[in-house]
């Protein structure tokens, strides 16, 4: 087991290099550069742009620039933002906790609610309310998050209807509405996933066998069937985690949360390469770690996977 984890960790190095190299090249391929946005009017403009490019090392060949960037990153130095000149680590340090709070809550809530809801829908599939709920889930799935955000904002923040939450920021309960918005799609997708996986599992022979042995239905569902149907859900959770950590530009903008999504969005728009690369690095690390965690979690959920690996 330890050897497996070690090998996986070592494999992360080339993966990381690949991801960052790709981001680096793509960012540089986009037309324009950060200094084009110094929208001054006067004559010496181009000369100063060239000076600035030189002083930031942008005139060097791309492989050299990437090499320099890598050599700094291994020392945990992401450089300074081209735009406001602050260290990128400082900017990431401000943005990441905000996103982590909102995304973390949304993840816990989303999957926490999806499992019981999915079980309920799978085991009571024939009830009329279960059918209505299924239809509603499909409808909910097709509602865009930004629309929910605007509606929530209108209903629950501001003087028009219920003045319960602040319009902007996370303080004073301000995290509630954005968490609802981010939970929404997770909940809908995960519920459907749990339901279909559980429905499949409940049709298996071993469930029939368990029932035949007289094991109580609740135990059959929660212990035998659900555990086996969680594998695809865990895979989904692993893929979902980096998505949430990346932040949602729309939600962050509407609710005024300067998190990772907005940071990345603004940085890309202004060609702020150091910040773009900083965000990409964090995202790459989180993605790889969550994939590793998912693989490890498989072993805990399904003993067969554990056995195969140790063999």
């Amino acid at each position: 087991m330890r050897r497996y984890v070690l090998r996986r960790l070592l494999l992360m190095i080339p993966t990381f290099l690949g991801i960052t190299l790709l981001t680096f090249v793509i960012a540089q391929l986009a037309p324009g550069d950060p200094f084009q946005l110094d929208l001054e009017v006067v004559g010496p403009g181009q000369a100063v742009i060239d000076l600035q490019r030189t002083s930031k090392g942008l005139d060097a060949p791309l492989p050299l620039q990437f090499g320099r960037w890598l050599s700094r990153v291994v020392r945990f130095d992401f450089g300074r933002s081209f735009i406001d000149q602050r260290p990128v680590t400082e900017k990431l340090g401000e943005a990441a906790p905000r996103t982590a709070l909102v995304a973390g809550l949304a993840l816990v809530l989303g999957f926490g609610l999806a499992v019981p809801l999915g079980v309920l829908l799978a085991t009571r599939a024939r009830r009329w309310w279960a059918r209505v709920l299924s239809v509603l889930l499909v409808a909910a799935w097709s509602v865009p998050t930004f629309w929910i955000a605007v509606i929530l904002l209108m209903l629950f923040a501001g003087p028009r209807y219920f003045d319960w939450f602040p319009v902007q920021g996370l303080a004073e309960g301000g995290f509630v509405l954005p968490v609802i918005c981010l939970t929404w799609p997770t909940l809908v997708v995960a519920t459907r996933q749990v339901r279909s996986a559980l429905e499949d599992a409940l049709a298996q022979d071993y469930v029939k066998a368990a029932r035949a042995r007289g094991i109580p239905e609740r135990r059959v569902v929660w212990r035998h069937a659900l555990r086996n149907s969680l594998l695809p859900v865990v895979t989904m959770l692993g893929l979902h985690l980096p998505h949430l950590v990346g932040g949602s530009v729309v939600i962050e903008r509407i609710f005024g949360i300067p998190g990772m999504g907005l940071l990345a969005f603004d940085a890309i728009g202004t060609r702020d390469y150091p910040t773009v690369m900083g965000v990409a690095t964090v995202m790459a690390l989180v993605t790889m770690l969550s994939m590793l965690l998912v693989d490890l979690a498989y072993g805990f959920i399904d003993p067969r996977i554990r056995l195969e690996r140790s063999a």
Binding site: A30, P31, G32, D33, P34, F35, Q36, L37, D38, L39, E40, V41, V42, G43, P44, G45, Q46, V48, L51, Q52, S55, R80, F82, I83, D84, Q85, R86, K91, E94, A95, V150, L153, M154, A157, G158, P159, R160, D163, V167, Q168, G169, R253, I254, F255, G256, I257, P258, L262, G269, T270, R271
Partner: protein, 582 residues
């Protein structure tokens, strides 16, 4: 900033709420009328007429509605003795990148001007188009305008307690003229500076290479004086840019990245101290959220209301009661420009035809919601720099067709597109993806162009790519806006033919007569005479259709009725005069 000014890729009309429209009365169907008994019909009609006259203006018929001043955004001044203390919360739609006007990248126009304004001071302030003493107690100029001697006010201290001296003025100018610093906006205006002398702590003597009115004006009226001891080290990463230390009536307290900026009153101010104890700028980017917070009463001063939200507020009684609206046409002109380096657009007849095909009234109504006054002038229209006799081109497709025919453009192969010598008449409009205004406006324009037989299309790129293309002159047509925060300006950089190669004359306009006038303007220190020259430039430039002039961007703000002393001006509001009533 005078003269040079800022440039924005036209991204200033955000999407917002739907426009409120009066409900049309529904006429009864024929079947309904047939069933109404004859003796009831006249009465019914009467009621209907009365009702329909009501439904046209539901707001006005039911109650008084907002006053005319409120509708027009005219500020009604309320007198009274100023009250000390209190905090003013201001909504800003963007976070400034840094708190200095020297650095080009931080100096992105309005947000920086607004936030730096209460902190830093200039040597002189602009009042009613004149310079009045501020940090400088007095100044005198030699007759040949080649030297300027400035005496600083004594007893002025920076917010950290250090006294202001001539060394600070010199250090600020040194920072501007350090070649590796991104300070070109000021460097351009002050390019005629030869050297600076500081004979003693209170005296600064400036020597100019040649007389230039805007250099003197910029040095006295626009250049903020930064502390010499804060300008040590790498200019890009100076702590001063994040935590400014100035001499102004407010001092910096804290900056919470992404959310707010707090200033407090400078109690040690050399002049009349401010009334407000605190000013808090809150950065709320999203329009929907900003409007919700505005309706909730979270802002004492709501800035940058979108035109759609401005119109929507007219049906919200809470906002009539609680706020005053501010409508103020800035010194900005939004334009479409055609690349006159290309033979097609070098022909003034073609440019005029394109101007005659621009559906200005439709755009003003549908895109600008009647909120962008039309302009024909590259100067501040509310000053004497513009000739009121210049009339805007009408929307006149037949006249445009005739001009194009005169220029040799005709549909010879009957494919619906004009051609000349086998070349089709086509225009590609380069549009920035971040400009919702252009996204609405260009399709309207394209429609009329296509009907006139011009093959027009839109090419959308993002802002950074847009500016690269503009600087490389790789375009047919672009849309941008020029703006300055001062009525005194010099359009040499955007109109003179020498600036077409590398400068800001992106459209490549060239007229020797205009060149001569622009050069003469630079050395003319007499305002009256300069204005007369500027009016000539206005006439020539509009007649040449150097730019397709559109509207002037307005300031659309609102402030709580208990806020007093706010006066809109080209340089934003002077917060030191503001106070909050009970």
């Amino acid at each position: 900033m005078s003269g040079a000014g800022y440039l924005s890729a036209g991204a200033h009309v955000p999407e917002g709420l739907p426009i409120w429209r009066p409900v049309k009365p529904k006429w009864p169907t024929r079947a309904f009328r047939a069933n109404v008994r004859p003796n009831v019909r006249p009465l019914f009609l009467l009621v209907l007429v009365a009702a329909s006259s009501c439904t046209c203006r539901p707001g006005t018929a039911v109650d008084a509605g907002p006053s005319a001043d409120w509708r027009a955004g005219r500020v009604v001044e309320v007198g009274g003795a100023p009250k000390e203390g209190g905090a003013l919360t201001v909504r800003l739609p963007l976070e400034p990148v840094g708190l200095t006007r020297l650095h080009d990248r931080f100096n992105e126009g309005t947000m920086t001007r607004i936030t730096v304004g209460p902190i830093y001071e200039t040597l002189a302030r602009v009042r009613d188009g004149q310079l009045q003493p501020l940090l400088a107690r007095s100044w005198s100029e030699s007759d040949d305008h080649l030297s300027l001697s400035i005496t600083l006010r004594s007893g002025v201290t920076f917010h950290d307690g250090q006294p202001l001296g001539s060394a600070d003025v010199k250090a600020t100018l040194d920072a501007v003229f350090e070649p590796k610093n991104a300070t070109t906006a000021f460097r351009g205006n002050l390019e005629t500076l030869e050297r600076v002398e500081t004979p003693d702590a209170q005296t600064v003597i400036i020597h100019w290479k040649r007389p230039y009115f805007l250099a003197t004006w910029t040095l006295l009226g626009a250049l903020p004086v930064l502390p010499a001891h804060g300008l040590v080290g790498d200019f890009d990463t100076l702590p001063l840019h994040r935590a400014p230390v100035g001499t102004g009536p407010f001092r910096f307290v804290k900056w919470e990245a992404g959310s707010s900026l707090t200033y407090a009153r400078n109690d040690a101010y050399w002049g009349q101290t401010a009334h407000l104890a605190q000013v808090i700028f809150r950065f709320v980017k999203d329009d929907t959220a900003a409007i919700a917070a505005w309706e909730r009463g979270e802002f004492d001063l709501m800035t940058r209301i979108s035109p759609a939200a401005w119109r929507a507020s007219e049906s919200n009684p809470k906002l009539w009661a609680g706020y005053q609206r501010v409508f103020f046409a800035e010194n900005t002109w939004v334009w479409l420009g055609f690349n006159q380096r290309k033979p097609l657009f070098a022909d003034v007849r073609v440019r005029k035809a394109l101007g005659l095909l621009f559906p200005m009234e439709l755009v003003a109504r549908a895109v600008d919601l009647g909120l962008e006054p039309r302009t024909t002038c590259p100067y501040f229209p509310d000053s004497k720099s513009c000739d009121p006799e210049v009339k805007p081109l009408p929307f006149d497709p037949p006249a445009a067709k005739k001009l194009l025919a005169d220029a040799g453009w005709a549909d010879r192969d009957a494919d619906g597109v004009l051609d000349r010598e086998g070349v089709k008449l086509s225009v590609a409009f380069l549009a920035s993806a971040q400009s919702p205004k252009m996204a609405k406006l260009l399709p309207l324009y394209l429609d009329t162009l296509k009907q006139a037989g011009i093959d027009a299309r839109i090419e959308t790129v993002d802002v950074s790519g847009y500016m690269s293309r503009v600087r490389a002159h790789d375009f047919d047509a672009i849309a941008l806006s020029w703006s300055t925060a001062d009525a005194v300006q010099d359009n040499f950089q955007i109109l003179h033919s020498s600036q077409a190669a590398e400068g800001a004359n992106y459209v490549g306009y060239s007229n020797p007569q205009v060149d001569t006038l622009l050069t003469a303007i630079r050395a003319e220190f007499d305002l009256e005479k300069r204005n007369a020259l500027e009016r000539q430039v206005h006439r020539l430039v509009y007649d040449d259709q150097a730019y397709l002039f559109m509207g002037r961007r307005p300031t659309l703000d609102a402030f709580k009725r208990k806020v007093r002393g706010l006066k809109p001006s080209l340089g934003w509001y002077d917060l030191s005069a503001v106070w909050i009533a009970d």
